[in-house]
């Protein structure tokens, strides 16, 4: 469950896309890593934080 409305999530998504575009591909991994850390630090619990990491990795194969 999320507390953001559809429109709020959409606006945040678009803001992130524009931010990544502005900083360029070379910085995108850094921005996304920092974003991930900030999001993890706002998790409701330790289990929640670990599950976020696992969910993000799910279905991706080592490359």
């Amino acid at each position: 469950m999320r507390t953001l409305s559809d429109a709020d999530l959409d606006a945040a998504y678009t803001h992130l896309c524009h931010t990544l575009t502005r900083l360029g591909p070379a910085q995108s991994e850094a921005v996304l890593a920092r974003l991930a850390l900030l999001a993890l630090s706002r998790s409701a619990s330790a289990a929640d934080a670990l599950r976020l990491v696992d969910d993000a990795a799910q279905d991706l194969t080592p490359g």
């Binding site: 469950m1 999320r2 559809d6 999530l9 959409d10 998504y13 678009t14 992130l16 896309c17 524009h18 931010t19 990544l20 575009t21 591909p25 995108s28 969910d55 799910q58 279905d59």
Partner: protein
């Protein structure tokens, strides 16, 4: 060899004809000339005719359009078309639909439904080709020959604004002539000559991505819904859209890969293998034939004003909205609906010219809303940078297991727009806790139409025509004497205002009986509530207990804005 077929539609051809001329000038001056016989031009002409205003409509071609253009008509547009008297044709021809599916690679990642409930008379969307849209509107126009004078094969060549009107020069196969109009409505499309003549330029964003649009003829029992394929196995890296249309026509839009030559890409021999691999992936086995191919490039552009003196711009002449979200023709039809009543009342000297400035401000605000949704859809269809691409892949891949991100994939289909900031809106009454606010369109609800002893199952929108409507809510149809007197006084001055009672009980007066008990809560109404509707169905003002001086002031302020 690619098998081809014609459209299952034959357009009637119309000859050019010259009006009565004197020295190359038309002898009669016209109150309104509409330039362009597309959906927006026809809706404008029909809208003006509803108010008894005669219109000359200039169309450069000799028939309705050809090819694949607008294909989806929204519920809001259908409500407008109902007021124009052309709804039966749209419902008879169009394919209604309520939702769609999006796929990423092999998996379905979204099944969306557009807003729909038991209160609605009309489906959220119908699919029909633009040639049918135009033909049905044209058929309706031909029923009113005294009001709508259609001039086929009449191409505008020059437009000259004047102090109290506009001079237009036109060319026809039978010769050129000049005509004079008090007002011109430019519905001449994306390459509007009117716009160019006024030195106006659309502003905004043009996108690089190109799409091939293909219409094919194929017999398939697949239901009508919007199908979107992101990075599909049949066309890796591309986005593909599929829409079913009447007459076994299927419309396919697919994105060209970077570096593909667009001119080569629309050749049938290049298109056919892509279509075949898509149909194979979809499991469609019936034989098919190619009807038409074209190229599309998304634009998100608008003028900052739609009124320039005696010239008003509408539809693609005023704004270009990306096709994703189906806001092109639908927003143009909304423009026509907003403009027609205002221009009609100005022509009939029942409203000040300043009313037309509200056409511009309301519809420019609507265009910005449409553009912001259209832009988001376009950026999802064809990501404009590595970042949009990367984030889209994240959204699509997470959507398989995480419903909470699926809204990002929703195509943001068109919906009715609220004129929140309209200068016409009366101050809202804080006693309402529900219901359409000033600037919002009326809420649909089933009612029983009462008149004397007659009882007829109906919908509220069926009882509201092209006029101002005082919707008065009561238990049994009792209306305050001062409200009744006000309505009668307006009618005596020729102002199109009608009273409609919404009642809790059946009654013998002309009324909408709320037999389901849904209308009162839907409008946040109690016995005594008054909602004043504009002729385009938007709320002008509302009073929880009818306040006659305030309602009369709101109407006057709308007709004669400062």
């Amino acid at each position: 060899m690619v098998q081809t077929a014609p459209y299952p539609f034959e357009a009637r051809r119309y000859p050019a004809r010259l009006p009565a001329l004197q020295g190359g000038r038309e002898t009669r001056r016209h109150p309104v000339v509409v330039v362009g016989g597309g959906p927006v031009g026809w809706c404008t002409a029909l809208g003006l005719a509803n108010f008894g205003v005669p219109v000359v409509l200039l169309e450069a071609d000799d028939s309705v359009c050809f090819g694949s253009r607008a294909i989806c008509i929204s519920r809001r547009s259908l409500q407008i078309i109902q007021r124009l008297g052309a709804l039966p044709g749209f419902l008879a021809t169009g394919l209604p639909w309520e939702g769609g599916r999006s796929f990423w690679r092999h998996q379905e990642v979204l099944h969306f439904l557009m807003p729909h409930d038991d209160n609605q008379k009309l489906p959220p969307m119908v699919n029909l080709a633009q040639y049918s849209i135009e033909q049905i509107l044209l058929d309706r126009a031909e029923e009113q020959p005294g009001l709508i004078d259609v001039r086929w094969q009449t191409r505008l060549t020059q437009l000259t604004p004047q102090a109290d009107g506009v001079e237009l020069q036109v060319d026809t196969p039978q010769g050129a002539y000049t005509l004079q109009a008090d007002w011109v409505v430019a519905c001449d499309g994306g390459r509007s000559l009117v716009r160019e003549s006024l030195g106006l330029k659309l502003q905004g964003t043009s996108y690089e991505g190109r799409y091939v649009i293909v219409d094919i003829l194929m017999d398939s029992a697949r239901p009508t819904e919007r199908l979107a394929y992101f990075d599909p196995p049949c066309n890796p890296g591309s986005t593909v859209l599929v829409h079913k249309q009447p007459g076994n026509v299927w419309r396919i839009d697919y994105q060209l890969r970077e570096g593909e030559d667009p001119d080569a890409a629309i050749q049938p021999e290049h298109v056919a293998p892509r279509v075949q691999s898509l149909l194979d992936m979809m499991g469609e086995t019936a034989p098919w034939k190619m009807i038409w191919t074209g190229l599309y490039k998304a634009n998100a552009l608008t003028l900052d004003r739609y009124r320039h003196g005696r010239v008003l711009l509408a539809g693609d002449a005023a704004h270009l909205v990306p096709i994703f979200g189906v806001r092109g023709a639908n927003s143009g039809i909304d423009d026509a609906d907003n403009l027609a009543w205002k221009l009609a009342l100005v022509v009939k000297a029942q409203a000040s010219e300043a009313l037309l400035d509200s056409y511009s401000s309301e519809r420019v605000a609507a265009a910005h809303e449409n553009l912001s949704y259209g832009t988001k859809s376009t950026e999802f269809m064809a990501p404009p940078s590595f970042a949009f691409e990367r984030m889209r892949e994240a959204a699509l891949s997470l959507a398989v297991r995480h419903p909470e991100v699926r809204s990002l994939i929703n195509p943001r289909q068109t919906s009715a727009i609220t004129y929140t900031q309209s200068p016409l809106n009366a101050p809202d009454d804080a006693r309402f806790s529900a219901g359409p606010v000033p600037g919002q369109v009326l809420a649909e609800v089933p009612v029983t139409a009462c008149e004397g002893d007659s009882r007829r199952e109906s919908f509220l929108s069926d009882l509201i025509g092209a006029h101002f409507t005082a919707l008065h809510f009561s238990a049994g149809g009792d209306v305050p004497a001062e409200l009744q007197a006000w309505v009668v006084a307006q009618a005596q001055q020729g102002l199109p205002l009608q009273l409609l009672r919404v009642t809790q009980k059946a009654c013998s007066a002309h009324a909408a009986w709320d037999h389901t008990g849904r209308a009162f809560p839907l409008y946040g109404a109690a016995p005594g509530t008054l909602v004043l509707l504009r002729p385009d169905g938007h709320v002008l003002g509302r009073w929880h207990q009818a306040d006659m001086p305030a309602a009369a002031r709101a109407l006057q302020a709308a007709l004669h804005p400062n």
